[in-house]
């Protein structure tokens, strides 16, 4: 199983994390599991990239955190999207779609 591909852009990790938290509030470990499951194991974000992204997003005010109890009764830090985060997720998703379409069109065999 490969970890985060090095060419995976920082912005992409941020976007994926936001998308995960847009689903529901969860702790960092759950985010990594959710991403793996959603992408059928293709997108595997390593812990370093994940936590850097989470703290970066929190500083920007796009996610907020609070301590809670995990499913196996341990203290864990839960993240949720803020209102600005939701708005940013919507915008970035649209941009990413346009970008992906454009790349796909260019790469398509005629």
């Amino acid at each position: 199983m490969s970890r985060t591909p090095p060419e995976m852009l920082q912005g992409t990790v941020d976007l994926l994390v936001l998308r995960a938290l847009g689903w529901e509030a969860m702790h960092g470990y759950a985010v990594s599991r959710w991403l793996e499951a959603r992408s059928d194991g293709v997108l595997v974000v390593d812990g370093a990239a994940l936590y850097q992204a989470l703290h970066r997003l929190e500083r920007r005010g796009w996610v907020a955190s609070s301590w809670g109890i995990s499913e196996n009764n341990r203290r864990a830090k839960f993240y949720r999207l803020t209102r600005q985060g939701t708005a940013h997720l919507r915008e970035s998703t649209a941009v990413w779609h346009d970008y992906a379409h454009a790349v796909a069109r260019v790469l398509a065999p005629r």
Partner: protein, 888 residues
């Protein structure tokens, strides 16, 4: 209203942040290890795999900590800002709930800041703005200081003085000279118009390092013999006469009958201190050709530029040496006098400088009083809200927060006052300058500009801080537990607060007393000036200036023809009692001349010197100056071959003619070249230089015989309203010569008053400042006493119930107020005494220790304050003991 009691987690420290990041990462790794163990790895393997998958743990740990710390900082700041914003809204709400307080406070600050900003705008334009020349700090005015002889004071240079100092001085790169005057501009279409003209030596623009906006400045060749007439004009005249069209530079304008080519245009802010629309070369050749006559004619204003690395003191030393040499060579004209350099701005601004400084000082004093008032009002409000404050403090709202809230309230009031005050300043400067164009010594661009706004902003901020901090600290030091126990209704206020209030009231009274003494002294000296008998009757007299010059008036005969025609027609006009003309009207100054008296031994170093004022027509009758002996001019004096005649004043008679003057013959000038003049009459003294100057000995020659000054002032005494004579005056001049311009038409009363205009103006301002100060201080002491009485109602009730008389209660309250007042008065008078020297320079006829002023101020202040204190004192006696006891 709800306090912002949000129970958020307290701010996180660095260590907490580190611990949280560690815990978070540890949780992730532990979950991962558990996952691997489920898949059958040994614990050691599972740990190794989890770490490997994670990537750089240490870097991530550091990265996350940094991010969190930054986030924490942002959070703290935004929370602080939110707190401030909350307090601002809170303050605005509480001001809205007490509109009377808000209105009073804002109105006071508006007025006071408006006044300060307006005065500053003027002071800035006159005293601080750089002069419109290159390297203006090296420029000096050169004037003659006379320390003895016929005149004591400073005056301009005479043409020979200028020539000698110019040639001999070693400390200035150059000296230029000029003289102001008026000439007539004949536009292509329309009536002739008088324009202000400065005739300047050709090096003037060089010395000033002033470059024209268009074309060239004047150059030495322009003043040479036979050179064509050229001139540089102002932007204003350029726009009016040449349509502001640069391609029309070089065209000719008809000035005083001569076609004058316009070679340059100056920028709009260029000035030599007074208004001028045209600068033309000054030709001194004829004056220098007759130095015997002209050495005492001090009419040149001179400006020099200091050489590099030369101090003004060195220049002064050099000029004084030259002065001593000149005094030895020309003892009559130059004894006791020498040239002095004066920084150009000081010289241009003149007495307006100290006047403006004084005004600004007075305005700032008023501001301080207003601050004290506002501080006291704020304190009272804060005490009213003690209960509220105590509850908040009990709930954990820190003292810093309390101070901040009170401070923000004061700042809000000051800010509102500052904004409105700017508007007031803008209006006030317009209005005052519109009303009194001569209030300032020259064409200064007074405007409420960026500097004035910055000044107002700084003052507003200072006002808010000063008037908010004192009460804020006083309240913060209140014993809040005590307050809570009293149910927030007690009125003791605490010793600190009481002391603060007392100090503020005393300071207010002291400041007001200082200001009142200053204003009082100025009022008294103005009264003394106004009471000076000028020696003529200014009522029912219309005056006007005529500008008669140019090529058509190069002979005395032409000048005489014009005045005989114009004055003759006016004299025949119904309603005219008498009409005459003179070089210069009374109170407008005069020029002096030295003379020899036939049959007397003359002291060569100290020849008789008299003010020289040529008059014609019925001048003395028009001004109602009585003839004391001999006769006035008659028609036969104008016969060909008739002797030259003159009249002198009483002072000249007493000083120079101990054996009677009638029939005595004199010669003008130290080198008696001219024909003899016979004295035929003696008239009463007139204050020719203005009320604040002593009467000089004066000689009034018959202008018909001495017509070299062609532009005269006319004086017409009328039976009815003098202003109604204006059309007749214009008609008479037009009939005599339609190209002669009539200007400055005004009643003699206006002219006389104009000589006191700037004094009157400053007086009006200072007096109103002092009045404002008195009102503010009175309101202040009234407010504090009223509050004090309200707080001690119960005590007064008990006293009255126990049999105290009403009189004793009144005395109790009054005594309190009077002790404060007396303390303030003593302090204020002491401060005024300390600045007595400063005041003495602007006084006339009284000393700075004038007892009427000092006693008057003390009595007025005591009377006004006592009246203000009586109101709360009377209220104290009306307390119903039963009601007062029940109130708590």
């Amino acid at each position: 209203m709800k306090a912002p009691l949000s129970f958020r987690f307290p701010w996180r420290s660095r260590r907490q942040i580190a611990a949280e990041v560690d815990a978070e990462l540890a949780f992730h790794l532990a979950m991962r290890v558990a996952e691997h163990e489920e898949h059958g790895f040994t614990h050691a393997d599972a740990v190794a795999r989890a770490k490997a998958e994670f990537g750089d743990v240490e870097f991530t740990r550091a990265y996350c900590r940094r991010q969190d710390e930054a986030g924490e900082r942002i959070m703290r700041w935004s929370e602080r800002l939110e707190g401030v914003w909350y307090d601002v809204r809170h303050a605005a709400r509480s001001l809205r709930r007490t509109p009377a307080f808000a209105a009073t406070a804002i109105l006071t600050i508006t007025l006071v800041l408006g006044v300060n900003t307006a005065v500053f705008s003027a002071a800035h334009a006159v005293l601080l703005r750089p002069l419109p020349y290159g390297h203006p700090d090296a420029l000096v005015a050169v004037e003659i200081k006379s320390v003895g002889g016929y005149f004591v004071g400073t005056e301009g240079l005479s043409p020979p003085d200028y020539q000698d100092y110019h040639a001999q001085q070693r400390t200035l790169t150059d000296i230029a000279a000029y003289t102001d005057g008026t000439e007539t501009w004949l536009p292509a279409h329309g009536d002739p118009e008088v324009i202000h003209v400065a005739r300047v030596t050709a090096n003037m623009f060089n010395v000033l390092a002033a470059t024209p906006r268009l074309g060239r400045g004047l150059i030495p060749g322009d003043a040479a013999a036979g050179a064509p007439d050229v001139a540089v004009i102002s932007s204003r005249l350029f726009d009016r006469a040449l349509g502001g069209d640069a391609s029309r530079l070089g065209e000719r304008l008809t000035i005083d009958g001569r076609a004058t080519r316009i070679v340059g245009v100056m920028s709009p802010d260029f000035t030599l201190g007074r208004r001028a629309d045209l600068w033309r070369p000054l030709d001194l050749r004829s004056d220098l050709g007759d130095p015997g006559r002209t050495r005492k004619q001090h009419w040149l204003r001179a400006i020099g530029r200091l050489r590099e690395r030369t101090t003004i003191a060195a220049a002064g030393h050099d000029l004084a040496l030259i002065g001593a040499r000149l005094a030895a060579t020309y003892p009559d004209a130059d004894s006791n006098r020498f040239a002095v350099p004066v920084p150009l701005r000081t010289w241009m601004v003149g007495s307006a400088g100290s006047g403006l400084t004084m005004l600004q000082g007075a305005a700032l004093l008023v501001l301080l009083i207003a601050c004290a008032n506002l501080a006291n009002l704020t304190l009272s409000r804060a005490l009213d809200r003690r209960g509220d404050v105590a509850i908040r403090a009990a709930l954990g709202s820190g003292r810093g927060r309390l101070i901040r809230q009170l401070l923000i309230e004061s700042l809000l009031v000051a800010l509102a006052g500052g904004i409105l005050g700017t508007a007031v300043a803008y209006g006030a400067t317009r209005w005052i300058l519109g009303l009194n164009a001569n209030a300032l010594p020259g064409p200064y661009p007074v405007a409420v500009d960026g500097m004035a706004l910055a000044f107002c902003a700084v003052l507003a901020l200072g006002t808010g801080l000063v008037s908010g901090l004192a009460p804020a600290f006083a309240v913060a030091r209140l014993d809040l537990q005590q307050t809570l126990r009293e149910g927030g209704r007690g009125n003791s206020g605490g010793r600190v607060v009481e002391r603060a209030r007392r100090a503020l009231v005393v300071a207010q009274i002291a400041l007001a007393a200082t200001l009142l003494v200053g204003a009082g002294l100025l009022v008294r000296s103005f009264q003394a000036l106004d009471a000076v008998k000028l020696g003529f009757a200014p009522d029912h007299v219309l005056t006007a200036q005529l500008t008669v010059g140019g090529a058509r008036y190069d002979s005395a005969a032409a000048v005489n023809r014009f005045y005989d025609a114009a004055l003759g027609e006016l004299a025949r006009t119904p309603g005219v009692v008498a009409v005459g003309a003179a070089d210069v009207l009374p109170t407008q100054g005069s020029s002096g001349a030295s003379m020899r008296i036939e049959g007397q031994v003359n002291d060569e170093a100290n020849l008789p010197n008299m003010a020289y004022i040529a008059v014609r027509g019925d001048y003395f009758r028009a001004l109602r100056v009585p003839l004391l002996a001999g006769r006035l001019f008659t028609a036969s004096d104008n016969d060909s071959g008739a002797a030259n005649v003159a009249v002198i004043n009483e002072t000249a008679l007493h000083r120079y003619f101990p054996n009677g003057a009638i029939g005595k013959r004199i010669h003008i000038g130290p080198v008696a070249t001219g024909p003899a003049i016979t004295i035929v009459g003696v008239v009463a003294d007139v204050h020719a230089e203005g009320a604040s100057y002593p009467v000089l000995p004066a000689l009034f020659p018959d202008h018909r015989q001495q017509a070299w000054e062609s532009s005269l002032s006319i004086a017409i005494r009328t039976r009815g309203d003098p202003v109604a004579m204006t059309p007749a005056l214009r008609r008479a001049v037009r009939n005599a010569d339609p190209t002669v311009a009539v200007h400055d038409i005004a009643t003699l009363e206006t002219v006389t008053r104009a000589s006191l205009a700037s004094r009157r103006f400053a007086l009006a301002l200072v007096t109103s400042f002092a009045g404002l100060a008195l009102v503010l201080a009175t309101i202040g002491i009234y407010g504090v006493l009223a509050y004090l009485v309200a707080g001690r109602r119960r005590e007064f009730g008990v006293r009255l119930a126990l049999g105290a008389t009403r009189g004793s209660v009144v005395t109790l309250v009054l005594r309190q107020g009077l002790i404060w007042t007396a303390t303030g008065l003593v302090l204020g008078l002491a401060a005024a005494a300390a600045e007595r020297k400063l005041l003495a320079t602007s006084l006339y006829g009284i000393s700075a220790g004038d007892p009427v002023t000092w006693i008057g101020v003390a009595v007025t202040l005591l009377a006004v304050v006592t009246a203000a204190c009586l109101i709360p004192a009377m209220r104290a006696t009306r307390v119903d003991p039963v009601v007062a006891m029940r109130a708590d």
